[in-house]
Amino acid sequence: MVFTRDGKSTPVLDDISLEVADGEFVCLLGPSGCGKSTLLSTMAGFLSPTSGEIKIDAEVVHGPDPRRIFVFQERGVFPWLTVEGNIDFGLFHLPAAERRQRVAHYVKMVGLEGFEKAYPPALSGGMKQRLEVARALAVNPDMLFLDEPFGALDSITRLVMRGELLRIWEAERKTIIFVTHDIDEAVQLADRVVVMSARPATIQQIVNIDIPHPRDISSPRYLELRDGIFQQIGLAHKI
């Protein structure tokens, strides 16, 4: 994938070849600016690859599609709609009774009961992200793309949100592709971690995380896998 701006072309992604299975939780891990968000946007259909193609269910991806919902980094919720209004956003082709039912279900699932009539500016960052996830899930997509969704949250909220995301994933089993620069986050969440190099990004390594959920973040196997990735990225182990 090559970006052109002001007459200069920048190769952003180089030789990416990846297969993802149904219901899998895959993390794209890499340093900031390496191109992982670009890859995710391309997968979701917001960008067209300059060479190569993306296929989902043997169909080439031409543009964004409600079967594959993207959860943006921040501020993706519509501030002019209430919590209910946001979750209801993609449900325009359903009958009213079913819409109400789905909205209620997902409000409950992400833990936003009591805030149905609230507007996003009144919500905290974590709540806004939950709202965005609820909005994404309400249309029952096949896949979710999450682009560093917890990046703007404080570290405690981040830990809580990771647990929430896994809980939702276990309940609904969508295929999830999750972009992060946080090694721990990747090892805690994913079935497979795709370690990417700096720009132009290539796939350095794909690590299988074979620990069952819930994962003990002090267990030797967890630490072993995490340290392996540390080494792969070339980071010092002691600070």
Binding site: G63, P66, F72, G76, P79, W80, F92, Y119, P121
Partner: protein, 250 residues
């Protein structure tokens, strides 16, 4: 309505200062506050006040509404379409700084002396700022909203009505409030030259027909009050709950 003490105290102090400044000079042409009040009473008695206020408001309303109906859709289209923006922008930037009052000779030439000329001038004064506001509002929409809209499978029309429009409305309303103020300024000036009724005409006529400066200032006070009311009216729109989001956004 909460009665605020400080603004009222300030206004009272200024009125006293005015009274003092005028009466100090034995030959006074400028009216005292009380003479202005009497002047307003005078106008009310002859039924002129209401007639002139209605005339001015009528012209502003027409000019403003026409400007909104044309500038908003056009601005949204130009802002949305990059090529249209590149094509129109130089022309707009050229026409915008020309004061509506500079159009007076042309307006009178095209429409003659009368309401149409005045409405045309108000329209011009409102059209360009509103157009630019609409263009900027569209170009300022965060891309995430558009992408999210497309992601959920919205058709182009749905994208416009469910994402684009709600996203630009707060800015549009602010633009409309400011533009209404401009329209009110222009109507007074336009009436001084092009028509024979209205508050602007009142001011010029009062001076010409006998140096009635009390009526001149009375006209000014009424103009100021109505301008304030119009502004307050628009501001109350901005405070609707579903439109308040653009202020609390960090």
């Amino acid at each position: 309505m909460i009665v605020r003490l400080r603004p009222i105290a300030l206004i009272a102090a200024l009125l006293l200062l005015w009274q003092f400044a005028v009466t100090r000079n034995p030959i006074h042409i400028l009216p005292t506050p009380w003479e202005v009040v009497k002047g307003i009473g005078d106008l009310l008695q002859h039924g002129l006040l209401l007639k002139y206020v209605v005339a001015s408001l009528f012209r502003v309303t027409w000019g403003f509404v026409l400007a909104v109906l044309l500038a908003v859709p056009l601005g949204l289209v130009i802002g949305w379409n990059r090529r249209a923006n590149m094509a129109f922008n130089p022309v707009l930037q050229l026409l915008r700084p020309i004061s509506p009052l500079a159009w007076i000779p042309l307006a009178i030439l095209w429409f003659g002396v009368g309401d149409f000329a005045a409405i045309f001038l108000i329209f011009l004064g409102c059209f360009f700022p509103l157009l630019l506001t609409a263009i900027n509002a569209v170009r300022g929409i965060p891309e995430v909203y558009i992408n999210a809209g497309r992601n959920f499978g919205l058709s182009s029309t749905a994208l416009v009505s469910r994402v684009l429009f709600p996203a630009v409305i707060p800015q549009l309303i602010i633009g409309m409030r400011i533009t209404l103020g401009v329209g009110w300024l222009v109507v007074v000036a336009a009436e001084m030259i092009a028509v024979s009724s209205g508050l602007g005409f009142l001011i010029v006529d009062a001076r010409n027909a006998g140096n009635r400066y009390d009526l001149v200032v009375a006209g000014m006070v009424i103009i100021g009050l109505i301008g304030l009311l119009l502004d307050m009216g628009m501001r109350s729109l901005e405070h609707l709950k579903s439109l308040r989001w653009s202020y609390s956004e960090d």
